[in-house]
Each structure stands twice: as structure tokens, then as C-alpha cells.
């Protein structure tokens, strides 16, 4: 995924595995990112996403696009979207459709 985004001309910061919500928010603030992509394979997404969003809110990050991937059952997708996840890319999502979604929905900051 990181490679597909890079090949689409984006700058991708890969922070490695097993990050805590605090560390994710901290890295997102310091790097001033436009998009956060979270891959969760542990099944803990229903517990993790509320924490991540509250950390992001506490850090004052309101205009960041958050997308998710990994092993997230279809039944949980609506719940995550209600929290603020813009899109969930389930297993088998073509890379280019994920890239296209991110390109189309990333916050535009062209006018500063």
C-alpha cells in the first residue's frame, strides 16, 4: 500500500507496526499529515478507533482524512464510518481504487 501511494506521487511516512493511539496522533501532528491510513489485523478495530479519534481531537487534528484497512468485517464498517473513518478498504480492495479514493478525498490545502 505504502508503495502504491508512493508510486502515485505521494509522500508516505511508514511508522511501523504496533503503534499506540497516542503515538499515531503524535506522529500525525508533528508530521502535519493530510491522511492517516490505519491497517488493523488484530480484530481490535472497534476498541482502537474511538481512542484514535479522541487522541486526534485532543491534538486538534480535525481536517485529517482517516482511512482504514486490514481485516475489518463488513458488519463493522458502518460503525467505523459513524466514528469518522472516511472509507474502509477490506481485503482484496484493488490498490488503485484505494489510491484514487485518497487522492479525491484528501484535504485540499492549495490556497495558503
Amino acid at each position: 500500500m505504502a508503495r502504491a501511494l508512493r508510486d502515485a506521487g505521494m509522500e508516505v511516512i511508514y511508522t511501523g507496526l504496533f503503534q499506540t493511539p497516542e503515538m499515531i496522533a503524535r506522529a500525525a501532528v508533528d508530521e502535519d499529515v493530510d491522511v492517516i491510513g490505519l491497517s488493523i489485523l488484530s480484530g481490535a478495530h472497534r476498541a482502537l478507533f474511538p481512542k484514535i479519534f479522541s487522541e486526534l481531537a485532543a491534538a486538534g487534528l480535525s481536517d485529517v482524512l482517516v482511512v482504514a484497512g486490514g481485516t475489518i468485517p463488513n458488519a463493522d464498517v458502518e460503525e467505523l464510518k459513524a466514528l469518522g473513518v472516511a472509507e474502509v478498504f477490506g481485503p482484496g480492495t484493488p490498490l488503485d481504487s484505494a489510491v484514487r479514493f485518497i487522492r479525491e478525498h484528501a484535504p485540499q490545502r492549495g490556497d495558503e
Binding site: R6, M10, E11, I13, E22, V29, L61, E112
Partner: protein
Amino acid sequence: MTATATDKLIERFRNGERPALARLLTYVENERPAGLRAMAELYRDTGNAYVVGITGPPGAGKSTLTNAVIREYRRRDKTVGVLAIDPSSSLTGGATLGDRIRMLENYEDEGVYIRSMATRGEMGGLSMAVGAVTHLLDAYGFDIIVVETVGVGQDEVDVAELADTTLLLQVPGLGDSIQTIKAGVLEIADILVVNKADIKGAENVVRDLRNMLRLGEHGPWLPPIVRTVAVNGDNIEALLDTIDKHRAHLESSGEGQARRERRARREVLRLAQNWLAGQLEEVIREPAMEPMLEKLRQRDINPFEVAAEVARRTSVRVQSRG
């Protein structure tokens, strides 16, 4: 962004709000008007940070060493801003910035700020914005700024231009060490670090470096060789003491002042060249150039003549704009 929104951001920056620092760095990196405005406001607050450059071949343990250096500076109550630079893809402009520094250590400490940056392919060297980014980190008040970059291409030479003290990392086991240091690279080092000094071959690397130093030219400062095992933090205290020694040498010899002046001139030159390059490209694309370019394609005229005409037109264009 309106002037007032930028001013508000600059005010928040002055209050030490990290998100304001992060956002202004983005504007500076992307050469936005708000970034230029921030530089105009904040440049006068710079000149207090000490810049340490860390470079070396892939696999030398730069990120691990950077972490160890951050830890030791924090132990000495210094705040640290880190700029980790990775190459951009020359094909797509994209980049994968492996966030190795954060992967290795969980920083919750407000005294450490880490920022990743892509080279964005500025003629094989560092992004034009790197200098500006270090100015903002300086203005924010970090005591130490660490600029870490992989030693490929022109980057390590550029890092040395930015840094007060440049560390060049070498490790045993990357093949013949003499071959791994390209011509002109040893000269940029103020301190040579032989990392992974606990593994076989480390003493050979030290010996080779010593021989190379003996053959090469150097001023009154002979770059010391410091052995470290960054992963254990071994000898990092000695490394920081050596950096302090180099800093004292720069101040007492006047070389520090001379370097700062060279650096400022080079930065101005690069920025001016960058601006001029943009003007030249626009002139080449003007329809009025097309007949000449066609003659060039037919080989009725040579590139030197076309270049002279481009320079002449650019000069007229720049002057007419005042």
C-alpha cells in the same frame, strides 16, 4: 490563507504550540506564501540552535545513532528537533519515508520533535526547503537540530553545508571500507563515527579511515574517530563530548563564524538560482522561442546559441518587471 490566519499561526508558533510549528513547516516546505511570511517574521529569532548532521551509507545505523544522540542530549537537558530526510522517487515524485526513528523509540517527550522530509529531487541534492525548515526549528527554540540523511548522491555534501558539525558514519561489513567512501565525502566529516564497533572488522575500518585521513587534506581540526555501539548506547557520551569539542574549536578558531557566513551566502545563491531556473524555463516555453527551437531540431543552430538567446530574453523579462 489570509494574512490574519498566518499571523495567528505565527503567534501560536511563538507560544510554543507544536501543531503551529508542524503546519508552518509544511508551508515552508511547499514554498507557500504563508511559509515566506513566517520566514520574514521568524528569521530574526534564529541563530541559537546548533546543527548536527548525521550521514552515512544505508545500514550504518544512522537512525539508531540518531536515537542514542537524542537520548543523550535530553539527558543533558537540551531540546532536540530532528529532520529525517529520505530520497524522493525521481519517476513519480513520491517517497516512502521510513519512520525509523519513531519506530525505535516512543517519544512522548515535548523536548523532542521529529519531522520526515523527502528530497523532492532538487538536482540530486537536498530539497531547497531544508535550509528554511532548519531556520524554523531554530526559531522555535530547539537547542540542537539533528539532520539525518542517507549518504547517497549529493545529499551528504549538502548536509555538511547546513550543519555546524557533520558526523560521517561507517560500519564494518559493508565491503571494502575504502571503496564505500566516495571521493569528496570524507572531507565533509568533522567527526568519523565507526558504529557497530563491537563486531568483527571494526578495527580495520578505524585503521583504513586513519590512513585516509593521513593522506587527505585537513585544516587545524583533524577529524577524530569515535567508536560507538549505538544500539547499546555505548560511547555516545564520548561522541557528544567530541561534538562539544568541535563546537569549541569552531568558536575559538573563528571557523564557526566563517562557516556561518559561507552557509548564508550559499543559501542565498541557491535560492536565487532556483528562482532564476524557474524564469528560464518559462522563457523556453514561450511561443516566441519556438522558431529557434525548430532550428535547433534541424541542427541549423546549436544549443549554445539558443541558451544565449534564452538568457537574453530572461534578462529583459526580469528587468521589465522591475
